[in-house]
Structure formats: C-alpha cells, structure tokens
C-alpha cells in the first residue's frame, strides 16, 4: 500500500522506514490527511506479521514534525463540530491519542503487556529536526527516540501558548519520562528544549550525528524485537514519584498550582488543565490517563477563548508577518542597507533590530558622539546576550560590524531604505528629509518613525511623497513586537510593500493603520491610563487599580505604565490637547492630578522623582505611601470586578472607535495591535475578539450603562450599536 503523506520502505529484515513528507508543504504537520493515512499504516503495521518493527523519520530538512495544523483546529476540527454529540466530539479529540496508543502497544491490551503475555513491535523515532507539539508526542509514543546532535533542534510542547494542551499523550508521557517538575516546565510554559537537555531529562535516549539517526534507530529496533513502554510494565514508578500521597509530588502540585495562578491570574485555563492532567493522570492506568487528557483537551478546543487565541496569536499573526496586507503585484524589495536617521533612543533601537535582521545600517546623527552612543546601545544588548549565552561572540561581533555611525549624509547614498527617527519637530524633520533625499537613490523609500506627526503632513516636505510612509516602532524597540505602518495620502503601493518587507526581515508583527493623530495604539492607551488616574482622584486604592489590571491580564498596572511614560509627558500632552481643542482643562481631575504631580510634588515619572510608585535604589518599586495624603481614600471602595470592568472598557471603547473610524481596517489588525502593541490581555485574543465573545449587543449594553454611570467617554461607537441591532459580528466566524 502506498501513502501520499509518507513513504514506507521495508528492508530485508522486515523493518519499515516511515518517512513523513507532506506533499507541497514546507513543514510536516498533523493535518487531516496525515492523521488518516498514518492511522491506516498503524493498523497494517500491527496486523502484518512480516513487519518486525519500524523507524519513523521525516523527509523534510525543515524538521521532523511541527505539531497539529492549527488552521485545521482553529477552523473546525473537534471544536468546530457544533452539531456533534459530546461522545462524537470526544472520539474526534481522542483520535491522535488512540492512534499513538495503538502504535506503542502494538494493539495489545494493557493487561497483556503488564503480565508479559504480549509485547509491542519496536518503533523508534529518528528525529532529524524540530519536533513540536503533536510532533514530539509522536516521538514520545515511540519506544526509542534518537535525535540528531544539533543544539538548534527544538523539542517541546508549545500548545499552551495558543490556549491548548498537548492532546496526544504529551501530558502523560512527559511526566512519566521526565518527572512532574520537568514536564510541568515544558508543558505549562511551552518553551522548547534542545536534544541534550531532553536526553538529560530522560525524554529521549540518544543524541547522535545527524547522518546517523536512521541507522541508529534501526539498529535499536533490530536489537529489541519485543518491547513494552515503561509505564506498561509492572512496578512502573514516575521519576521523582507521583500521586496524592507522595510527599514530593504533593509539594510539586501545591507549589505549581500557586505559581500557575500567579503567572496566569486565572485567565488561562489551559495551564490549569495541564496541571489537572498531570494530577489526575498520575493515579490511573495509562489508557484512562490519555482519555482524561483528551477530555480536558476537548474542553479547551471547544472554548471561544482558545479559538480567539489560535486565531490572533497564531493564524493572524503569521498572516500579518507573511505580508497579508502587502499590495499585490509589487515585486519583493531587496533591502541590504538601511539608513537610520537620528541615534536617540528610538534610532538606536531601530539600528539594533535592523542589524539583527541581517541588514547593514548607516546610523546618522548630527554629532558623531551621538551616533556612536547610538551604536553603543546595540553593543550593550549584544554583550548582555553573549554573557547569558543567548548569542555567540562571533555572531554578536558580526551584528555590531553591520552598524556604521556617521554624521555624513553622503554615507546614505547607497541605502535601500531610510528610517527617520529624529526629534519630533516638523522643522527638524523637514530639514532632514531634504538633506537625505538629496543623496539617496531616486527610488529609495523614506519611512518616518514619528509617533505624533501626521505622515501626510510630513510627506509635503518630500520630493517624492509617493515613496514616503510611516513605520512606527514602540519603545524599547528591541523588545516590543509590534510595528505600525502608516501610509500617507500619497504613499504608493511600493512604499507599503517595502515597509512590510522590511518589517518581515526584522521579524516583527506589522499592522497597517490610517494616518490620524496617535495612529491606533496611541489612541487607545492614553484613555486607559487616564481612567486609572481618574480612579485615583476618586479615592480608589492604588493597589486595587494595579491589581485589577493584572487580574485582567495586563502585563503591568496602568499607574506603573504612567510612571514609565512619565507624568511630565502626560501633562505636556494634556496641555497641547487643551490648546488644540480650546477646552479649559483646569477643572478636570486628571489634569489637576498631573499638575500636582509634576509642578507641586516634582514626581514627574519613574526617571524623575518617581510617580505613583517610589523606586528605591537596588530595591523593588512600591506604591508611593504619600498618595493618599493628596488623594484621600474613599470610604466605600469599588469591587475588584467594577474596577476591572472600567479598565477593560477604557480600552475596548477607544479600540472600537478606531475600528469604526477605519483607523484599523479589520478586526485582525485591531487585535494584533492591541496585544503586541500595548500588551492587551492576550487570553482574549484582542479587543475585537473579546467583543465578539461577550457579544456585540452585550458590549453595547454594558458600555451604555458605564457611560451613564461614569460619563460619555464610555459610549460605544454608533457603528457597534448598528451591529448590535443587526446581529452582525466583527469576525465572520464569531458564533
């Protein structure tokens, strides 16, 4: 029998070499075809007495097997079987487990294996590249695991990162091989390990030169004609012990439960369910344990949260990074050399990520000392990376060698792209644009990293406004994953395509946004921080505000965020806005708060006198105890849920406005921008996904009730009111 998704080659000793090689795919994944065919092969393998054993490997140089096809899971799979019964859904979720279990038992009942009345045929994995998720789970179900000696090979179960758990026996085989502690690190954090670490933990048995993996695996198969997995033998014990009466295991469970709650704030059920699979699975026979795992897997797979996470954090993120918004028909631009104008904090960061992306960088500033200082920023990051073993000295040196600090505009003459990050002053920018365009090639795209000035306005200073575009980075550039791309009124397709090609090279996530003040993220974050300051002025405990945000899933509290961006900047913006709108801010509580902080108290922000927090040298920051002196606590404190809701809607409403006004053209971009731009609770899949999940009508109702209580800023956009009436959803498959 022949298969489409893999090749089976039986040698003269009766050992089958199964080489998985999905046609037309760059990487092997568990998709419907492979599932179907592999299952057929397992059946025939168990039934055919002529076959003595098997080695499973991959025909792809890209890796062994990268896990389940999330497009399949996200789009349908067991989660999409809306009309199926619970039992049918379970059987679908259990399919991978059932197949892998048959492979490792040879189809024999566990009792027969336990008594030694039956044995499985030996199956070895010859792992020649990364094995993740369901890929590693296939490896674990083999009796012997040989991996190529290459520290870059990733072995792991990253399912938790999209709200899932390893549902192909991973939560059961990993702790039985590596112990509860090691398995929990792998499965609850989702970070992969290298082959030697995996060997040290007992997850694999052998690390050999890449060319020998198949031979070594075969050798083992031939030497071990009758095999049984350790957990199918009598007297099996978990390394380190397990079970609710084992003191070490109890300590592990109690501590991991608490640490998981600390890390997830109860927002990620996948982490809890993984720990439940460990706990519940450790006291029952293996066949029961994998059924328990599949039940928890199904619970996650059928949840809106997991669908949202898969869609935003995986499918849409990848699509954006692959240039989904790239205009058609523009050939890929080759970007070898980039001119970065201005070596301040942003310019220095942009130079680093550009050099890291393999491009040459001309880092220009007025003063050579500034330019060198800008390069020194990269040096700092590289040195830290080398000392932590994250990058080799050699690679680090190469990166630094790609950055050339200069003051001479002539050095820009052969660049392929300009990114301008000079002072946010239209006159300064105008001058820089002119001087640059005088030397660069006629067809070079000029990008501005402005965060406050309209691109269309800046483009007026350009001779070639069709080649002028905004590429907005976030600070710190090397850490923040999002980039906003802002076409001006006259920006041409080629400028957008080039910007996206560049962002692809630096491996960041792009969204395309409309040229309006603040673009997208800076339209949403200020109202959110304002709401937190307003809560302070109302006498709400600062700790409650900060903890409410963390409980929502925000990485830091809004008051801490305000300290970072600084009260000083907040006040400056408030004053500028007042000037622009002509509205007197004197009576606005947040304005008064900022005035008090900046002008009376000298608490201008983290770097200047502290803010809502004190920052003791060498110690941890803590809330400033003097706050209640100036903003006395209210006798009645709101509930945690109330504060959470206000902080959530203070982000949802402006994000909805941005969508309604077309600042972000689609819910995908709005969601990506929120999560990767300002850390909006990733468990929601983003604000638009969240609105769909709670229901647009419910969102509108809640927003209106908040508006009644707290003010019109909470009113939902009319567009959403209309959607609520017609029952329209943001995503087409939101139901």
């Amino acid at each position: 029998m022949s298969y489409e998704t893999f090749n089976v080659d039986v040698d003269s000793d009766g050992v089958a070499l199964v080489t998985i090689d999905l046609p037309g795919k760059s990487m092997n994944v568990w998709n419907a075809e492979l599932m179907k065919e592999f299952s057929q092969w397992v059946d025939s393998f168990c039934a055919d007495d002529g076959i003595k054993g098997a080695v499973i490997t991959s025909g792809k140089s890209s890796g062994f097997l990268a896990g389940a096809d999330l497009n399949m899971l996200g789009g349908g799979g067991a989660g999409g079987m809306v009309s199926a019964s619970g039992k049918e859904k379970f059987e679908a979720a259990f399919a991978l487990n059932a197949m892998l279990r048959k492979l490792e038992t040879g189809g024999h009942p566990a009792k027969a294996l336990l008594n030694g009345q039956a044995h499985a045929k030996p199956v070895a994995a010859a792992v020649n590249g990364l094995a993740l998720g369901g890929g590693l789970e296939l490896v674990l179900a083999c009796h012997h695991r040989v991996v190529a000696d290459n520290p870059k090979i990733q072995l792991g179960v990253p399912e938790v990162q999209v709200g899932l758990l390893p549902g192909g026996g991973g939560t059961q085989r990993l702790p039985r091989l590596a112990g509860l502690q090691n398995a929990a690190m792998l499965a609850t954090q989702g970070r992969p390990i290298d082959p030697n670490t995996a060997k040290g933990q007992g997850i694999i048995q052998d690390v050999v030169p890449a060319d020998d993996v198949v031979a070594k695996a075969k050798e083992w198969v031939k030497a071990n004609p009758k095999v049984t997995q350790p957990w199918d033998k009598k007297g099996f014990k978990y390394p380190g012990g397990a079970g609710p009466m084992n003191p070490g295991a109890v300590q592990f469970h109690v501590a991991s439960n608490a640490m998981a709650q600390r890390e997830t704030s109860h927002n990620y059920p996948a982490v809890q369910y993984i720990l439940s699979c460990f706990y519940e699975g450790s006291v029952v026979p293996f066949d029961t344990a994998i059924r328990i795992e599949s039940k928890y897997f199904l619970k996650l797979l059928s949840s809106a949260q997991t669908r949202n996470m898969i869609r935003t954090l995986f499918i849409n993120k990848q699509a954006a990074e692959k240039g989904e918004q790239r205009p058609e028909g523009v050939p890929p631009t080759e970007i070898k050399k980039v001119g970065v104008l201005g070596a301040g904090m942003m310019g220095a960061g942009i130079a680093y990520v550009t050099a890291k992306g393999g491009m040459q960088v001309v880092l220009l500033d007025r003063d050579i000392e500034y330019a060198k200082k800008g390069k020194a920023y990269s040096q700092g990051i590289v040195e830290k990376g080398v000392s932590r073993g994250k990058v080799t000295k050699e690679k680090g040196d190469e990166l630094l060698a790609r950055i050339t600090p200069t003051t001479d505009y002539n050095d820009l003459k052969d660049v392929d792209l300009i990114i301008e990050a000079v002072f946010e002053d239209p006159d300064v920018k105008a001058d820089v644009i002119k001087r640059t365009e005088a030397v660069i090639g006629q067809d070079v795209i000029f990008a501005s990293n402005t965060s406050t000035l309209p691109i269309t306005g800046l483009a007026k200073h350009s001779e070639r406004p069709d080649q002028f575009i905004g590429i907005h980075f976030f600070s710190p550039v090397d850490k923040m994953p999002l980039v906003e791309i802002i076409p001006g009124e006259q920006s041409g397709d080629r400028s957008l395509a080039t910007a996206l090609d560049y962002v692809g090279k630096i491996k960041k996530t792009p969204i395309v946004v409309k040229d309006t003040r603040g673009f997208y993220t800076n339209r949403v974050v200020p109202p959110y921080i304002n709401e937190s300051m307003l809560l302070v002025t109302e006498g709400v405990k600062a700790a409650l505000i900060e903890n409410a945000a963390k409980s929502l899933g925000m990485p830091v509290g809004p008051l801490a965020l305000c300290d970072e961006t600084s009260q000083e900047l907040g006040l400056r913006i408030a004053k500028a806005t007042a000037k622009e709108t002509g509205q007197d801010p004197t009576n606005e509580p947040v304005y008064q708060l900022l005035l008090k902080f900046v002008e009376d108290l000298g608490r201008k922000g983290r770097k200047s006198g502290g803010g809502f927090y004190d920052y003791p040298e060498g110690g941890k920051k803590h809330l400033w105890p003097g706050l209640t002196e100036y903003f006395p606590l209210a006798d009645e404190q709101p509930s945690l849920e109330d504060v959470k809701e206000r902080l959530l809607y203070a982000q949802l409403i402006p994000a909805a406005h941005c969508f309604a006004e077309g600042i972000v053209s689609d819910p995908q971009s709005a969601d990506l921008g929120a999560i990767f731009g300002w850390g909006f609770a990733p468990w929601t899949g983003g604000p638009m996904s969240h609105i769909d999940t709670i229901g647009v009508d419910e969102f509108v109702r809640k927003a209106e009730s908040l508006a009644q209580k707290y003010g019109p800023r909470f009113n939902p956009p009319n567009h959403f009111r209309e959607m609520a009436k017609t029952g329209e959803t943001l995503y087409k498959s939101a139901a």
Partner: protein, 402 residues
C-alpha cells in the same frame, strides 16, 4: 430540649511535637487511651454507662487512622458496647467532637458521652493525610488556596497589625501561660502521661517560655515570606484581596501556635445520668455553632461562629464573661478582638497555643476544659470557646457555670 451538662474535663500536658519531645515515645492511641481511663477512673464510673465517644483527629492516617477513637476505647478497657467516632474539622475537631457529644445528649440519643481529641504531631506530622484541596488543580485554583501562615499574614496586613502588635500579643500569651502554671490553674484537668512501665513522662506543658520578650521575638525571621514570595502564594492571596499591594509577613515560630502532642476528653451527660452516677454538673452548654467563611483569608471564621452562637443562645456579647479563641496565630486573636471589640483582659486569660501549643485534633477539647476550670476559679458565669479552621470555617460553643 434536654440540657447537656459537663461533668468532667481532662487533658494531657502538651509535649513538644518533635522527636525530642517528651511525648514522642508515646503512641497517639496511648494518649487517647490514658485520657479515657482518667475520665472513667477519677469519676469512679462504670465505663459501660458511656455510650459514645467522639474524638477529633486532624491527620487520621497511619497510627491515627482506622478510627483511633474506637481503638482507644477498646485499649482503655471500656466495654465493647461503647462506640467511637473520629471527627475531622481541622483545628476545631476537638471542640466539634465535644459539640457532637453534647448534641447526642441534647437530642436524646445518648445519656452519657465523651467528646475530645488526640493528635501526636510528632509521630503523624501535619499534612500526612494529603487532601485534594491544595493539591488538585481544580480545587486549588477555585479556592485560591494559600497555606494558613500566608492567611495569618494576610489578616495582619488587611486589618493593620504590625510585627510589634503580634509579637506583643505573643509575649503576653507566654506570660499568662507561665502564671497559670505557677498558680496551678490547670491542676483540675491535667493528667500526667505515663509510659509503659507506669512512670510519668510528662506532667506539664513543655513549650511554655516565660522569659520570652519583644527582643527575643524580634530576632526571629518571618516564617512565610519565602513561601509567599517564591512559590506564588502571596500573588494568589492578592488576586482575591486586590486592595492590598503587598503582604506584610509578620508571623514566625514565636507568635504562632506550637506543634505539640496531646489528648483531651470531656464527659457530658444529661441531668438524670449525673444524679444516677452521683456526678456533679460543672457547667452546661448554652449554644453551639459552626460556620463557613472566606477560604483564602481562612482564619477569620471565629468572629462569625461566635456571632452565630450568641444569636442561637439569645445572648449579647456583653453577656460573655470570658472568651477563649485558639491562638493559631497572633493576628487571628487580634482580629477577633478588633471585630467584636473585646478587651485583651477578657480573652485567653490563661495563655494559649502560642505558649502551650496546638495539638490539632485535641485543642478544642483542651481549651473547652480550660474554660470550665477558669469559670470555677474566677467565679464567673459564661464563656465562649472558639477556633479558627482551615479552608475557612469557625466553630464556637458557649458554656455557663452551674
């Protein structure tokens, strides 16, 4: 309803709950056996009159397993007709066992019963019985489980008790316990523990340290800071108590209850059985109550249990002359005093578990006996006995001298 009278109360001294503690060589069944023998022998009654015995035990596994109460009944030479039950309501098990024994009398199910408890913490360490609550992710997450020490520190943080406050309370507890011993205030109840050759191995509470002062306590490091910060428990507590920025870890070995071994028994019956056996009633049960409270802060239950018991007795807190709250942690008592506005001079007048220790399953019955003795000694009328309980519960009993 039938009145339940207290005819006697005995307890062992409390031995340090470590391998070098005096009671470590004595099995928990022996501790239970000896208090049962004492109740029978010093009242000179036929044990056959005792119909049922309820004993608290918090780690009922190993040699405390298999209904340790029944084993001790048979071991004490009671007739086979006396039944036994083992009760677990965590730290209030001993008081709950007394309440069950009293309830059987009140309900007319039995005429004469014993309530009490036993715990050899040196031989069957705390936590030996495992349990789903903190271990099973589904329950640990749902309840925001944190260990009791974190809860005690959370109480101190939330209700504003400083390290000095809790230490000062502990110093006073030691002082009161030492005074009680020097004035023989426990003499009526204390029953020295004998070894297998009949020699006394312990006749006094072993962990009392009269010399404790603020300075000596000040030298101790907080016990739960590491646990809270490194293992995530502080964060879990703050997820529920979000108005708090940081938990102030104030408790340590010197202001928390000691780990000890011991047993206690209380003889309870109706009026007629007393007359029949020539026993003199010493006090009567006015009310009993148990409640559930918020499980993460866990140890604030006594306030609500006390209020419920007062309401059931139709009493006001002003009607209570003496208060006894188990000193699980100093902050638990300080919070109780704050919540009910109780003067320190009216509560735990003879010291408590910070000085003398907390043999989990037995403590409730021990402090119950302490109050019976103290009402008689001081000539006062009423006492309320209560304990904080794991997983957020409280049990309280009101007694009145007769």
């Amino acid at each position: 309803m039938t009145e339940a009278y207290i005819y006697d109360a005995v307890r062992t001294p409390r031995g340090k709950g470590k391998p070098d503690g005096s009671l470590h060589e004595v099995t928990p069944v022996q501790l239970a056996t000896q208090v049962l023998e004492a109740v029978r022998d010093r009242n000179e009654i036929d044990a056959g009159e005792i119909e049922d015995v309820a004993f608290g035990c918090v780690s009922p596994v190993g040699e405390q397993g298999a209904v340790v109460t029944r084993t001790a009944i048979l071991n004490a030479g009671y007739p086979q007709t006396t039944s036994g039950i083992q009760v677990n309501r965590f730290c209030a098990s001993g008081l709950e066992a007394v309440n069950i024994a009293a309830a059987k009398v009140k309900a007319g199910e039995a005429d004469l019963t014993i309530g009490g408890g036993v715990e050899s913490m040196s031989r069957v360490p705390m936590g030996s019985d495992g349990g789903a609550w903190p271990t099973d992710p589904s329950t640990a997450f749902k309840t925001y489980f944190v260990p009791q020490g974190i809860s005690a520190d959370l109480i101190a943080t939330k209700y504003g008790f400083s390290r000095d406050d809790v230490d000062a309370y502990a110093v006073e507890s030691q002082k009161r316990a030492a005074r009680s011993w020097s004035e023989n205030r426990f003499a009526k109840s204390i029953m020295p523990v004998k070894d297998v050759i009949g020699e006394t191995v312990l006749d006094h509470d072993e962990t009392v340290r009269a010399e404790t002062d603020m300075q000596s306590l000040g030298a101790l490091n907080p016990s739960f800071a590491m646990l809270g910060e490194n293992f995530g428990f502080d964060a879990v507590a703050l997820q529920k108590y979000a108005e708090i920025e940081k938990i102030n870890h104030v408790h340590h070995a010197g202001n928390s209850s000691g780990i000890v071994d011991g047993a206690a028994a209380v003889l309870i019956g109706n009026e007629d059985i007393g007359k029949k056996l020539g026993l003199k009633p010493r006090a009567r049960i006015r009310a009993m109550a148990s409640i559930g409270s918020e499980p993460t802060i866990m140890l604030t239950g006594p306030e609500f249990a006390a209020k419920k018991a007062l309401a059931r007795a139709g009493m006001d807190k002003k009607d209570i002359d003496l208060w006894e709250l188990n000193e699980a942690f100093a902050s638990v008592v300080l919070r109780f005093m704050q919540a009910l506005d109780i003067d320190h001079s009216d509560i735990n007048v003879n010291g408590g578990a910070i000085a003398m220790g907390h043999p989990l399953g037995a403590t409730g019955a021990m402090i119950f006996g302490t109050m019976v003795d103290e009402l008689e000694r001081s000539g006062k009328e009423t006492a309320l006995i209560t304990l904080c309980i794991g997983a957020g519960m409280g049990t309280a009993t009101i007694i009145e001298r007769v």
